[in-house]
Amino acid sequence: MNSIRRIPIGEYGLIGDTRTAALVAPDGSIDWLCLPRFDSPPVFGRLVGGEEGGHFVIAPDEPATLAGQGYRGDTATLETEWAVDGGRLVLADTMVGEVTGVMLPESLLVRRVTSQGRPIRVGVEISPRFGYQRERARRIRRQNGNLLVDHGDIAFSLTTGTEHQLEPDRPNVIEVRPDRPVTVVMSASHRGPLFLVPSEVGTGEAARDETRWQLWADSLVTGPHHRRAILRSFITLQLLTYSPTGAPVAAPTTSLPEVVGGSRNWDYRYAWPRDACTGITAFLSAGKEREARGFHAWLLHASRLARPRLPALFSLDGRPAPLEQELEGWPGYADSRPVRVGNGARAQHQLDGYGWVLDAAWQLTRAGHRLDGETWRTMQAFADHVTRNWMLPDAGIWERRDLPRHHVHSKLMAWVALDRAIQIAEQRSDTPRRLTEWSAAAGILGDEIARRAFDPHNGCYTAAYESQDLDAALLLLPWTGFEPNDSPRVAGTIDTIRRELGAGGPLLYRYRDHDGLTGREGAFLPCSFWLVHALAMTGQRSQAETLFEELLGLGGELGLYAEEMDPVTHDHLGNYPQALTHSALLQAATALND
C-alpha cells in the first residue's frame, strides 16, 4: 500500500513545539508525529510505516487543486491552500511551543481551517497508531464534545468546536463556511490526565505562538542578504531543539532513505555534539547568546558521564542513544527498508567531535563569555584526551561502518581541538601546565597531516592517510585555520573536491569510495554549503554567491533541506529536515554576509 503513496520528501512542511515535531504533506496529511517527544514511537507514522502507520488528514472533500504551501511570515505555522470551484480553503497548522505556566498539555496541535468564497466540504480522517507495533487505540470515548483516544500512557483528545462527532479510522466530513472557520484541536498527554482544550482556546494559543515566533525571528541579527532563508534555517534549528534538555535533534525523522528503495536508512532523532557546536556558532552569529549557551550547557550536561571521552551521539536526555534495531513489517518510505530505530554509531570512536566542541568554546570565548571553572576544566580534559588519542584511527564524521581509518578530517579536527584549547588558554590568566603538551601535540599532529594526508600528485588533501580517496568534509579546511587561506594546498583541495566529487551544479557527493555498505547515496547537502563557505573564505566570493543562490533554489518554497539530494531529480533524500544542513547553510550565509 505504501509504495502507492510517495510524496516527495522535500514537499513536507515541518511544524513543531520544540518537544516533538510533525511533517505535513501538501495533501493536508500529517504523516509523521511522534508523541510525546521526538524520539518516541510515532502516533502518525505513515511516512515510513505504510498505511498501518497512522495519519491525520484535513483536506477538501471535493475536487481541489493545491494552490500553495508555505510558512505564515517568519513563524512556525504552516499554511496549505487549495483552490476549489468558486472558493479557496486554507489549512493553518501550528504546534504550540510555549505551554509553561498555563493550563495546557505538553503537546497541542491546532489545525485551523478557513474557507473563502463559499462553504466547502472538508474531510477529516484521523487514524492514530501506537508503539512500534502500530497498535490501534485501546479505548475510544467521548467527553464534552471531545473524542478521547487512549492507549496506555499516551492519550489525546480531539475537538472541532462543531457539533460534528469525529470518528477515528474513517472519513469524517464537515462543512466550513466563510463566516465560521473550524479549528481542530488535538491535545495529547503522556502519563497524565488529558487536558480538554476548547477550539477557541486552541485558536488563541496558535495566534500567540505565531506572535512569539515572529518576535523571535525579528530579533535575529543577520546580514542584509538572504534574510528569508537565514530566518527559516534559524527557525528550523530552533524547532529541532528539544527544549526540556536543550538537546539539538539532528532530524525529526527516522529512516528516510539516502536513495529511494535503498537500505541506508538511519534514525536521526538523537543529538550529536557537532550539531550543538555548529548551532552555537550559528546562534552567536545572529546575536542569540541565550540559545548558543543553551546548546553549550546541554553539551556539558550530556558529556558528564563519559568524560573525558565524548560519545558520538546522545539520547535527548544526554544518555547513550538506544541500540539500533530494525522494525519488522514496516514498509519504509517508498519501499525503502529497513526502518531502523536507535543508532549503531553510538559506540563509534569519532575524533572530530572534540574539535567541534573546543571550537564552540573558543567561539563563546571570542564573543566575550568567560568559560566558568567547570566548563574550562571539561575543555581541558577533552584537549588532554585528544593529546593522548589523536593517533588512533576512527570512524570519521561520516560514521563509516567499515574498518576505522586515519581520516584526515578527523585529524584536522583533532588539531582544531588543540589549537582552540591553546587559544582559550592564552586568553585566560589560569593557563594550565598542559599548554606545553598541547602545543607539542598540535605540532606533531600538524606535521603528520602535512606529510601523510597530502597527495602531491593531485595537489590536494585526501580522505585518509596515504590514500587517493577524497572527502568533501575537507572543504572545512579554510575554516580550521590549519593552513593560510591563500595556500595552494587549500585551493588545490577545494578544486579537486569540486571536480572529482561534483554531482552537477552546486551538488557534491561526500565521498565516492566504497564504505562497506550496499547501495549508493545522493549528493550530501551540507558539503555544498561548506563549498560555498570555502569559496567565500578563499576570495572566490562571486562563485560562492552563485552557488548559494542555486542551493537556495533547491530548497523549494518551504526553505527546508534534507541531508541529501538526488543529483538528477533534485528530490530531497535522507532524514528531513536536517539540522546539519541548516547549520551549514547559516555558516555559508554568514561568510557571504561578512
Partner: protein, 158 residues
C-alpha cells in the same frame, strides 16, 4: 491513640503510596496524576500544581491516617494485615465515591454533564478513575493497601 506514630508513619505511608502511584505512572500502567489533580484545585499552572498538589496529598494522607489510628484504637489491635484491609476499604471508597465527586468541586476539571466550555479543563477521572487507564483501580488499590499495611504495622494501640 498513638499520636507520635501517627505523625511519623502517616507521612511515611503517604510518601510510599505516592511512590507506588508515580512508579505505576512511569511504567505506563496509569495516567492518574494525583499531585496534578489536587494542585490544579489551587493553580492553573500545571508545573506549580504538581508541586502544590504533592504537599496537599501529604496533608490528606496525614488526615486519613487519623481514621486508621482511631480504627486501630477502637478495635484494640493493629497489624499490617488489618491495616491492609483498611487500605482496601479506603481505596474502594476513594475510587467509588470521592474521586468521581472531584469534578463537582474542581474548578479546572470537566464534569460528566458539562457541555463545551471556553476554558481548558482536565479530563475527569470517572468511576474508580478508570478514565486514566484500565489498570488504575488496581494501582490505587495496591497503593492504598501498602499505605494501610505500613500504618497497621507501625502504629501502636494505646
Amino acid at each position: 491513640m498513638d499520636w507520635s506514630g501517627w505523625a511519623t508513619f502517616g507521612v511515611a505511608a503517604t510518601a510510599v503510596l505516592t511512590a507506588v502511584i508515580v512508579g505505576a505512572q512511569l511504567a505506563g500502567l496509569t495516567r492518574l496524576d494525583i499531585p496534578l489533580m489536587l494542585g490544579t484545585l489551587i493553580t492553573g499552572d500545571p508545573d506549580r500544581a504538581r508541586f502544590v498538589g504533592f504537599f496537599l496529598h501529604l496533608v490528606m494522607g496525614q488526615f486519613f491516617a487519623l481514621f486508621y489510628a482511631a480504627g486501630f484504637a477502637q478495635l484494640g489491635r493493629s497489624g499490617w494485615l488489618l491495616g491492609a484491609g483498611f487500605g482496601l476499604i479506603h481505596a474502594t471508597i476513594a475510587g467509588a465515591v470521592l474521586v468521581p465527586l472531584l469534578p463537582t468541586i474542581h474548578p479546572r476539571m470537566a464534569t460528566e454533564r458539562a457541555g463545551p466550555s471556553s476554558t481548558t479543563v482536565l479530563e475527569p477521572p470517572g468511576l474508580l478513575a478508570l478514565n486514566y487507564g484500565w489498570s488504575t483501580p488496581l494501582v490505587t488499590m495496591a497503593a492504598h493497601v501498602v499505605y494501610g499495611a505500613i500504618l497497621g504495622a507501625f502504629l501502636q494501640v494505646r
